[in-house]
């Protein structure tokens, strides 16, 4: 009767462990839970897990619980591929020794060695089994349970002696094997997850670098704007941060990426403008001005198929709108203008003022800041404009 209730208990523990496994992307947390649970519920003097470390191509005893002096300290010992316990579970040639066995027990080793001597003579298997026995004695271990995914040994669960000095029972060993298989699955999932994360990071990195290259392509055409894109991008990020710091806005993290991309690409529509207009050494006539003022719209057209860039697109399309509605090309007004565009507008104008143009000399930074101040509420949205003035006053730009 007692025996039966214990079995049910294990089953519940196992289910609980499996459930948490789904939630845990860090398999070490799960393993720590399992080891702690085994030591407590099965009442053994120590238990630990050896984990494969791909970067070092070796196995390290990573998680350990139990009585001090008997438990093997975490991170202290490593088990190379030629270690007998690792070899036994990892190398195909020994698979026949473990037939139908989910664990290797010290009390089974002598029987196994005897069987080998009768069946196969001296083929090296006996020596390995002897070595495994020596190792298990050295580590005070009564049972070794492998955790494998396909043919790959991912971890080994080592179990000490039960406190009542009895041997492990069949249902206990089945329980350990199920836990080991959970562990293997958790490690495998974590590896897959890690791989996906890395791939997605790589893709994202490539995307950002492509955006930067596109931004440079625009600059290559427009000889007046060398370095302009990079400076505007930096101002935009600083202004958005300042707006967060002074409490006038609260942007989510993704906003910073959106404005970064929008600022890098804000002038991409200039690609469609003839160089004769773009680089003209005098004031533009009416027709040329109209062509020039199309560039925010043209930029929007170029990028509109990239649905991921929706928020950035707003920044590109509306960066020449004015707070008083006198901007171009859409003539939006006040809060109709998305904040991302209002920020780019201030940053863009601020940098343009400090650059020589065919029709005027560059302003100093102090003069440019004064000019921004003068146009708060007319050309510029008050919040980003004030943020820029604050940054200048604090000498942060």
């Amino acid at each position: 009767m007692n025996h039966k209730t214990q079995q049910i208990d294990y089953k519940r523990e196992l289910e609980a462990a499996s459930k948490s496994m789904i939630m845990v992307h860090e398999p070490k947390l799960l393993i720590r839970m399992i080891i702690r649970m085994i030591v407590q519920k099965v009442q053994i003097n120590h238990a630990c897990m050896i984990l494969y470390v791909p970067a070092k191509d070796t196995y390290v005893l990573t998680i350990s619980k139990g009585e001090r002096g008997i438990k093997i300290p975490e991170g202290f010992a490593r088990f190379d591929k030629n270690h007998p316990i690792i070899k036994l579970f990892n190398e195909k040639q020994y698979a026949s020794l473990l037939l139908n066995k989910s664990a290797v027990l010290t009390q089974d080793l002598n029987k196994l060695i005897w069987q080998e001597s009768i069946l196969n003579g001296n083929n090296g298997n006996q020596k390995l089994l002897h070595d495994v026995g020596d190792q298990m004695r050295m580590l005070n271990v009564e049972a070794c349970v492998p955790a494998k995914y396909k043919d790959k040994l991912l971890a080994v669960l080592l179990l000490g002696q039960k406190r009542d000095s009895t041997h492990f029972e069949k249902h206990e060993l089945e329980f350990f094997a199920a836990l080991a298989s959970d562990v293997a699955m958790a490690i495998r999932n974590a590896q897959l997850f890690e791989g996906l994360k890395k791939e997605s990071e790589r893709n994202h990195d490539l995307f950002i670098r492509t955006v930067i290259v596109l931004g440079r392509a625009i600059e290559a055409k427009d000889k007046y704007t060398h370095g302009h894109t990079e400076r505007v991008t930096n101002y935009c990020i600083s202004i958005a941060r300042q707006m967060m710091d002074n409490g006038s806005a609260s942007f989510p993290d993704v906003f910073f990426e959106s404005i970064y991309i929008a600022a890098l690409l804000h002038d991409i529509g200039k690609i469609g403008i003839p160089e004769a207009v773009l680089n003209k050494a005098g004031k533009l006539n009416q027709t040329e001005m109209e062509i020039m003022q199309q560039h925010p719209m043209a930029g929007g057209e170029i990028l509109k198929s990239l649905s991921e860039l929706k928020e950035s697109l707003d920044g590109i399309k509306y960066h020449h709108e004015r707070y008083d509605g006198k901007g171009y090309p859409y003539k939006l007004k006040g809060d109709e203008i998305p904040m991302i565009a209002a920020i780019i507008s201030v940053a863009d104008a601020f940098d343009a003022m400090m650059t020589d143009r065919p029709y005027r000399k560059a302003l100093t930074k102090e003069e440019a800041v004064e000019e921004i101040k003068k146009n708060i509420g007319s050309q510029f949205h008050p919040l980003p404009a004030r943020a820029l003035v604050e940054l200048a006053e604090q000498r942060k730009i």
Binding site: V60, L61, S64, R68, G69, I70, K71, I72, P73, E74, G75, F76, A77, R78, F79, D80, H83, M138, L139
Partner: protein, 120 residues
């Protein structure tokens, strides 16, 4: 019986290593820090010291220097992390019989210790 002193500020390591070597008929002493170790080296005159490099109050190398400054030539094997190349160099200049990187292979640790103690 040969005498071994284990110096490590982690109690789990001290206790495990103590049991590990006691079984091999070695008289094992442990110390959790540099000062305690220094006193045991003076009083017990161990045949070999297993010395952890990274310890809070006094590093393994500092202890080693202090011991050598008194003219004591006790045999010392260092236990180090992989990233501590410079420290190993410093320790070698002060005279050690060898070092072993953590995580270590237990047989290698055993081999180093038994070889040195049997040489006595």
């Amino acid at each position: 019986m040969p005498k071994l002193l284990i110096v490590d500020d982690e109690i789990d390591i001290r206790e495990f290593a103590k049991n590990f070597f006691k079984k091999r008929n070695i008289d094992v002493f442990t110390a959790s820090g540099g000062q305690e170790a220094f006193e045991i080296i003076e009083s017990e005159k161990p045949d070999l010291v297993l010395l952890d490099v990274r310890m809070e109050e006094m590093t393994g190398v500092e202890l080693l220097k202090k011991v050598r400054d008194t003219g004591n030539n006790v045999k010392v094997a260092m236990v180090t992390g992989v990233e501590e190349e410079e420290t190993v160099q410093e320790a070698e200049n002060l005279g050690i019989i060898g070092y072993i990187h953590k995580p270590l292979v237990l047989e290698e640790l055993e081999k180093i210790v038994l070889k040195e103690l049997n040489n006595n």
